[in-house]
């Protein structure tokens, strides 16, 4: 297990380095000039050159990349006009747009996505597994077909449509919930949950259909196996067989997909954040891309990649825990 984790850690570091290099490479291949955006309108060539120098964009790309990498480990001093400010390691640079440290922007945005995934994952797993079991208990019956259809229908609706529908229903027509805004968990737990209820359901309803399908398929496959037949012969009730034995057949797959989905939402739920006005990583990424804010683009991409690597590692570990036939080595 330790050797596995060490190997994964080293691989993750290599992947992150490659991701950072690719982002830098793409940045210089893509059209657009952040110095020109910062310089404003009617900025002549001389002014533009000065702004480019101030932003450090006049230096060779490899030098800029090296500064970025070395700052992560050693920190970096930045000139703010009246003096220098020290960006402590792990320093991911300062935003071209807001002049704030990228690490600060990431630590402000990440709790939004952690909050989103915390509630949404509980909901989508409960709904997906619950209704998956419900459907599997009477395969091909009316409730199986109805449940599967509803699950697939929600999964097929684009999340921005679903989000808008939820806002209209709960905030405008029935007026039972406020238009969401992000209230930190540490500030007020009640308001935190109340404001995130709609985003949670928007994500959960979109994802739950997939888990319903996976659970149903896994349980049905397990129900056809010999040990289940033996349990039936012993007189176990169908409910007990499904809930305690057959469900184990579906869990490894569900856990693997869940770990990866959780990683994906943590790395930024662009549409959900945008529709509900939640300032998470997805919104930060979109905003920074539209303003060619290289330090933020790189920072968000690295964090998102890191979260996805962690999610994949967790998925592998979970698989081994839930399926004794799999061994981590």
């Amino acid at each position: 297990m330790t050797a596995f984790l060490v190997r994964r850690l080293l691989a993750a570091a290599a992947v992150l380095l490659i991701v950072a290099a690719v982002v830098y490479g793409l940045f210089y291949l893509m059209p657009g000039d952040p110095a020109s955006l910062a310089c404003g309108k009617r900025c002549d060539a001389a002014e533009l050159a000065q702004v480019r120098q101030t932003m450090g964009l006049n230096r060779p790309v490899y030098e800029q990349f090296w500064t970025f990498i070395s700052s992560i480990f050693a920190g970096h001093a930045y000139d703010n006009g009246v003096g220098t400010v020290w960006c402590s390691a792990p320093c991911l640079g300062y935003s071209f747009q807001s002049d704030e440290p990228v690490t600060q922007l990431l630590t402000q945005a990440l709790p939004v996505d952690v909050s989103l995934v915390a509630g949404a994952a509980v909901l989508w797993l409960s709904l997906g597994i619950g209704f998956g079991l419900f459907a599997a208990m009477r395969p091909n019956g009316l409730r199986d077909k109805a449940t599967t259809f509803v699950g697939l229908a929600f999964g097929s609706v684009p999340i921005f449509i679903l989000a808008l529908l939820l806002l209209l229903l709960f905030c405008v027509w029935w007026q039972v919930l406020p238009f969401p805004t992000f209230v930190p968990f540490t500030q007020n737990v009640g308001q935190w949950a109340e404001n995130l209820l709609l985003p949670w359901f928007a994500i959960a309803l979109t994802f739950a259909g997939n888990y319903l399908r996976l659970t149903r398929a896994g349980v049905l496959e397990a129900l056809g196996q010999d040990h289940i037949r033996t349990l039936r012969a012993y007189g176990y009730t169908e409910r007990r067989i499904v809930a305690r034995h057959a469900v184990r057949g579906a869990l490894p797959t569900v856990a693997t997909i869940a770990a990866m989905d959780i990683g994906g939402v943590l790395a930024g739920a662009v549409f959900t954040e945008s529709m509900f006005g939640l300032p998470g990583l997805g919104k930060l990424m979109v905003d920074s891309a539209s303003t060619i804010d290289l330090p933020v683009i790189t920072g968000v991409t690295l964090l998102a990649s890191f979260l996805i690597i962690v999610a994949n590692t967790v998925a592998d570990l979970l698989y081994a825990v839930l399926d004794p036939r799999v061994r981590i080595s």
Binding site: P31, G40, R42, L48, T54, D79, L167, C171, S274, F276
Partner: protein
């Protein structure tokens, strides 16, 4: 030159009579306007209290540094924090386009042929920290805007001030800008390298807000600037929320242009336009006390308002002086031929373009470069009458005369951003209309983040572009000079004279008008110049945007100021 606008501590009452005059004056001005709306009666004398909620798309990522902000007339939110030498008249209707004193006692004394401008500060002016505002602070605020670490503001000071083109700001080895002098703490004098009759308008920009040198934190100043306006920042999380509370050192006694009714202003940032429209339309709970400073009403809500009088009553309209137009590069074939340019002018279908914007409530067809909303500088003309839907026959005739009897194929560059005025909907409408005249338009969508950089670079400028231009202040000068003055052709990036047109007689006329300090005479002269330039078909003016905005049901004294085309939130109330 606001391209794509979208796309902004307590002084004891010096005189009770002055305060009474102010309150009475503002209330009368606002209440008497046809654009004024409000749920119930509004009384400026008793309007204070409550929390105004603002729902905005803007993330305010670049913060609130007065040196970096690029506003028209000080913007909406910045004007709550920063007072400037002059400001816009806080009045509904055409009077809102006039410039009035703010920190200064008047709009400026011009001398030496409008090359020297002198301002005297009012007495008793203080920052939110209780310190006195001095003329040296205003000078320092302007000097900061020259630093490359604080780039982004309007370019005029660099061009106009003596030594401005080489000055590097106050952080370097040569920190003093000698063309601004402060003979005493209440006097500031500007020495310009050429006459500029519009200087009082420029003095309304945030670069003319005072900045105390001791509190300057350079790039980091944008998160917590020292306020000189009626509010100060309580908390600011970029991309999420900005909360303003009263500056206890500000009073109406020294400020005739801001009522500052709410005790608190809570600005939600980074919201989607759909959600803002929904929240304002439904106006539930705290949203009844809500307004927006950057989101036009969507077409669906506008259509719904036709059958809902209560919703319609909460709609307010106005105009920001802007023009969306076809820009010819006259240095590139075939647009070096005036006949071709005239053919395009005849061929455009302005009705389809207006429809692409959502209909006549949201846009007005334009045949002049100066839009009507610019006031005195608007002189109506239509030299190449295309009618409502284009005159294809006349266009074909002109193309034949120009040597293109079988029509021609050209490429149109436009901004790929769907919500942009110079975006895809317009490009498609133009393509369809010009095809009737035998003109095949190939479409070249340029990414929004790169559009200006490509089009305004003389080395990369396409032969034909779809562009829009807005006024930094409501005058012919910032509308015409960057577009038609040959001396403003900037090699490399940042050139907005897209025609690359240069005529010494036009430049002489521009210099002559710039010497006029009587605003009405100056605007009339700018209008004449526009009418003269229109004959050359250097552009095809297409339409100007009408701003229609919505507010919550409990917000009173709402009007769209005619300087910027947006709500003036310094006047609204929730009491």
């Amino acid at each position: 030159m606001f391209n794509n606008p979208l796309p902004a501590r307590r002084i004891k009452l010096a005189s009770l009579s002055a305060a009474a005059l102010l309150v009475g004056g503002l209330a009368a001005a606002c209440g008497g306007s046809s654009t004024t709306t409000g749920a119930t009666s509004f009384n400026a004398a008793s309007c204070t209290g409550g929390t105004l909620n603002v729902l905005d798309q803007s993330t305010e990522d670049t913060g609130l540094d007065p040196a970096v902000l690029y506003t028209s007339g000080g913007g909406a939110i910045p004007r709550l924090l920063f007072r400037t030498l002059t400001t816009r008249d806080t009045t509904a209707g055409a009077k809102g386009r006039t410039v009035v004193p703010d920190l200064a006692t008047d709009t400026g004394e011009a001398s030496e042929n409008a090359t020297v401008w002198t301002y005297h500060l009012k007495s008793g002016l203080k920052y939110a920290n209780g310190e006195a505002i001095t003329s040296a602070d205003i000078k320092y605020g302007i000097e900061r805007s020259f630093s490359s670490v604080l780039a982004g503001g309007p370019p005029y000071l660099r061009d106009w001030l003596v030594g401005g083109s080489t000055y590097q700001g106050p952080y370097g080895s040569d920190p003093d800008l000698a063309s601004i002098t402060t003979p005493n703490p209440t006097t500031i004098v500007f020495h310009l390298r050429k006459p500029e009759g519009d200087f009082p308008y420029l003095a309304a920009e945030t670069q003319f807000a005072p900045v105390p040198k001791a509190d300057d934190t350079g790039k980091n100043y944008n998160a917590d600037p020292v306020s000189s306006g009626p509010y100060t920042i309580q908390s600011f999380t970029k991309g999420k929320e900005l909360v303003l509370v009263r500056n206890t050192y500000w009073s109406r006694g020294t400020d005739s242009q801001r009522l500052a009714c709410p005790d608190k202003i809570d600005i939600s940032l980074g919201l989607s336009s759909t959600v803002i429209d929904q929240r304002l339309a439904s106006s539930i709970g705290q949203d009844a006390d809500a307004i927006t400073t950057d989101t036009d009403v969507d077409t669906a809500t506008l259509a719904k308002s036709a059958s809902q009088p209560s919703l319609k009553a909460r709609l307010t309209s106005g105009n920001f002086p802007d023009t969306t137009y076809l820009a010819f590069n006259t240095k590139a074939a075939p647009f070096d031929n005036q006949l071709v340019r005239e053919a395009f002018s005849y061929a455009v279908d302005r009705t389809s373009l207006v429809n692409a914007q959502g209909g006549s409530q949201l846009a007005t067809a334009l045949t002049t470069y100066d839009p009507p909303s610019i006031g005195g500088a608007y002189h109506p003309y239509d030299y190449f009458p295309a009618g409502a839907s284009g005159n294809a026959a006349k266009a074909k005739q002109l193309l034949a005369q120009a040597g293109y009897p079988d029509g021609l194929t050209v490429t149109l560059a436009y901004d790929s951003n769907g919500s942009s005025y110079d975006g895809p909907a317009n490009a498609a409408a133009l393509q369809q209309a010009l095809a009737k005249a035998g003109i095949t338009l190939k479409l070249d969508a340029i990414d929004d983040s790169n559009f200006d950089a490509v089009v305004t670079n003389t080395k990369t400028e396409p032969a034909l572009s779809l562009f829009s231009w807005g006024a930094d202040w409501p005058s012919g000068a910032p509308f015409l000079t960057p577009i038609f003055d040959g001396r403003d052709i900037v090699q490399g990036g940042g050139n907005f004279n897209l025609a690359q047109y240069s005529d010494p007689s036009v430049e002489a006329e521009i210099d002559k008008i710039n010497q006029i300090t009587d605003n009405s005479k100056a605007q009339a002269a700018w209008g004449d110049l526009d009418a003269q330039l229109g004959k050359l078909a250097l552009t095809v003016p297409l339409y100007t945007v009408n701003d229609v905005v919505l507010h919550g049901s409990n917000v009173k004294n709402t009007y769209v100021d005619q300087w910027r085309g947006w709500y003036d939130i310094s006047s609204v109330s929730v009491k």
